[in-house]
Symmetry: C2
Subunit: 521 residues, 2 copies
């Protein structure tokens, strides 16, 4: 018995008391009646009591109740914002004819290996529980390349919206998480130069315009031009990629720091670094391209010419797409990822966003470029599928909108209910349920209280708290006359309507309502 | 040098040749000019060649290109089906006033521990990479309970659509995966008996009706009735849960097998098992409830009475909601999960689905019930939030629709493009781009070829292959006259339209088009 006691922990004393009481009873009765059956019954009762005690003996929560580091829940308000943003983005992707795909949240670890350079350390691995070795996806681009190669697809215009995972140092107030959304739009296929590339830029402008989050500029550059520039400045070929990564830091650090890193960490000569410094401060439009095409050093390097011709064509197409005033050719734009091979671009908000009394600098909110060699890395014959794409940084957009919400500068409605069914008196649950049923069957979004006899005031309060515009008010005397009342929640105006015309009347009113714009998915 | 050679692998010979050629040159020139600068230049060229060689020396793919076991990609057709199904489900959730939440894909392992009984072995753990110990979510119910307890929320009507993860034996043709979608609708809050429970059933019928996948029945039972039934049959209290798990197998196994398991594995007496056997073959409606309320054995057990009264009330509410003909009170329904405390239900398709010449049995496609004690497991003071909810088995629905698609019984369009911009002659890319730009700016879904000079036939074929209904056809002579042509792709009818009226005319035609029903998210 002592062995069993251990499991009951703190209730040891109680159990002991029960056992002793019941056992005494059992023994007493055994002597009196010698009834084996009775003993069994008593034991059953005892076991019953024991089981009940066990069930109540819940061990209290020992660990801190939280989501994992760098992650968060989305509450209904946040989801409403999120779904609204995603809906606008998807509308643009669809306007450009994109199809939708999805891939698993994890991949074979081998698929991700060797694709992200130094950042590979940020990949989440799954535990080896027998079977395959898996990792959570780090972005949506490598899974796309794996998908294209695996299915031998040569052309695809697809969008993909999904969460990706990076064991990074989270800065959650700025929208930097370990689990976060990516919204990618990519065009795969062997096409004529810059035609799909220009469409990606056009799509980004449509998205940023529709989200209405402030002024922005779309910086563009070309990896071949960067390579040519490094060559012209005297950087050894094997240092191009690492020098490029250093240039990429120019959006956060001043030139002096970047220069020091180039010289001390990347082994670039001071002279080469200074020459690079001259170029990366340049930005402009078509006139800059023309000037650089005549540049003494660059014009001797074929890669530079190739990049500049590419940018020139891209800028021409941007004029046709009416977005030339949003585009800035910027030689300091480098982008971190190794796999880009052609045009690269990044959208940056040019003004800090005012939220309450504070200003928030958002920076980059979209980026992408051309990567012609990634799909081939998955093909046994190294067969390439050229790709160009863009990723929208929705988390930063969410965080701006959430800050606006928190500052009371924005309102969202988290449900879409049009009609609340109210009863003014007791015992009207059945009538309410019948009306709700009619409304739902007619496709009307409707709710009622789950209480049998809710208070009138509580019901009206529910409508106001949740922005429900209309209420159906049921009363005994009206129902006897074949009448129900429709109440406008805001104006508090109530109108009598014949019971059989209720649905038609509600539908007419809903159609004319000024719907609040922000609705969930 | 030999050390460096290793990295070049198969190109050893080529490199060696290059080194020797360039070195000879270098030495020769060194002697001739003694120019240090020249040497540097030659070395740079050499390094350049080396780097180029290295870049081409891509190691071919060594591992099988696949998605992890039990997972799959969704191609555009599958995504279109999936998004269409989810859209219909969400429409019903919203009609019932549900809000949307989301939680991270992984939780602290402690959150999941002790919630799933035997199935805990199916949980995916993440590798310990330093920091918190994490697991992928197994369902959406435990994360909801964690969310409610963590945020001290007492009332919530929410839906949640997300992927969950189980290291189960996959049967992918039947829609059983290791990564799969759950669509959950739950009502949390202290309300009057069976009011929210009945609404869950109503929502399920609305969803299954709108998905139009065949006849179904909604089986209902009550955990208190099951407990009372086990008690009445003489099953010891501590064997209720395990006996319940065994009863749950009745939808797949015959009674004889279940009986054997009860007796041999769960330690139920043969007499008790036989008594259970009598009850679990019963099913019916309100009349069965009344009969059982008078049952000699059950009427003596308070838990049974409690369960029967619950079912009785639920059936009354189902009449008010007009779904009584879909409901079947079935004493064999048990449901596996431990955490249910009240009503439980399961929707089952009653006819196999015909796909081509084959019949596919689908079985259960939705299920749920009341779980009043789960939230309290996360609260330090064991504070309860009663909940009831339902989960829609969308993967099974997807697999039925995908099979129909594969059998040619269904067509889906994977893009929503309304207008394709075509040019009949060479060098019209710029004109096409200008027109596309106008269309996009007017919100029209439009595409063009990414080739400079695509063939007319290829462009028309693209429209037909992708179900694009309209084409704008540009020609030099028409443009000179200020005219463009609009082509109806199906009828092949072409009409001339003044260039400046193009947008209005297209909008009018798009509005009257018979849109194909199945469109992506």
């Amino acid at each position: 018995m002592s062995c069993k006691m251990v499991r009951f922990g703190k209730n040891y004393a109680t159990i002991l008391k029960l056992y002793s009481v019941v056992n005494n009873k059992v023994f007493a009765k055994t002597i009196a009646t010698s009834s084996c059956c009775k003993i069994k019954q008593e034991v059953a009762k005892l076991l019953n009591l024991k089981a009940q005690l066990g069930a109540e003996d819940v061990v209290p929560q020992k660990f801190t109740l939280k989501t994992p580091k760098g992650t968060r829940d989305y509450n209904p308000q946040q989801m409403t914002i999120r779904n609204n943003v995603l809906q606008k983005i998807v509308a643009v992707f669809k306007r450009h004819g994109a199809e939708c795909i999805d891939t698993p949240v994890f991949e074979l670890k081998d698929v991700l290996t060797g694709k992200y350079g130094e950042d590979s350390k940020l990949i989440y691995d799954l535990k080896d529980q027998g079977g395959e070795i898996l990792s959570l996806r780090y972005d949506l681009t490598v899974p796309l390349a794996r998908y294209l190669a695996m299915n031998k697809i040569n052309t695809l215009k697809r969008y993909h919206i999904a969460k990706v995972y990076r064991r990074d140092n989270p800065a959650m107030t700025k929208g930097r998480y370990r689990e976060f959304y990516q919204c990618d739009f990519d065009i795969a296929g062997q096409y004529d130069p810059m035609v799909p590339d220009a469409e990606c830029l056009k799509a980004v402008t449509e998205i940023l315009n529709s989200l209405d989050i402030g002024k922005y500029v779309l910086k563009v550059n070309h990896r071949r031009l960067l390579d040519g520039m490094f060559e012209a400045c005297g950087v050894p070929n094997d240092k191009f990629r690492s020098t490029c990564s250093t240039v990429d830091k120019l959006d956060k650090s001043p030139w002096e720091e970047v220069r020091t890193e180039m010289i001390n960490e990347k082994g670039v000569s001071p002279e080469a670094a200074d020459r690079i410094g001259e170029y990366v401060r340049l930005n402009g439009g078509a006139e800059l391209v023309d000037k650089l095409l005549k540049d003494e050093k660059l014009s001797k390097v074929s890669a530079a010419i190739e990049g500049l011709e590419g940018i020139k064509l891209l800028l021409e197409y941007c004029v046709l797409f009416g977005i030339q005033d949003k585009i800035l050719f910027d030689l300091s734009l480098a982008r971190g990822l190794d796999y880009y091979t052609g045009v690269i671009y990044e959208a940056v908000l040019t003004e800090p966003i005012k939220i309450g009394n504070e200003e928030q600098t958002v920076g980059s909110i979209a980026g992408g470029g051309r990567y012609d060699n990634l799909v081939g890395m998955f093909d046994s014959k190294n067969k390439q599928v050229p790709c160009v794409g863009v990723s929208i940084g929705v988390e930063r957009i969410f965080s701006v909108l959430e800050a606006k919400l928190a500052a009371g500068e924005m309102r969202v409605r988290t449900n879409e209910v049009d009609v609340y069914v109210i009863s003014a008196q007791k015992n009207f649950l059945e009538e309410r349920m019948k009306i709700c049923n009619e409304l739902w069957n007619s496709g009307i979004k409707a709710e009622q209280s789950y209480k049998k006899n809710p208070k009138m005031l509580t019901q009206l309060q529910h409508c106001e708290d949740n922005g429900i515009p209309l209420a159906v008010v049921l009363g005994e005397s009206e129902l006897k006359r074949g009448i129900v009342k429709i109440r406008n929640v805001v104006s508090r105006q109530e109108d009598e309507v014949p019971r059989e015309k209720l649905i038609d009347e509600l539908k007419a009113r809903i159609a004319t309502l000024n719907k609040i714009e922000m609705n969930g998915y």
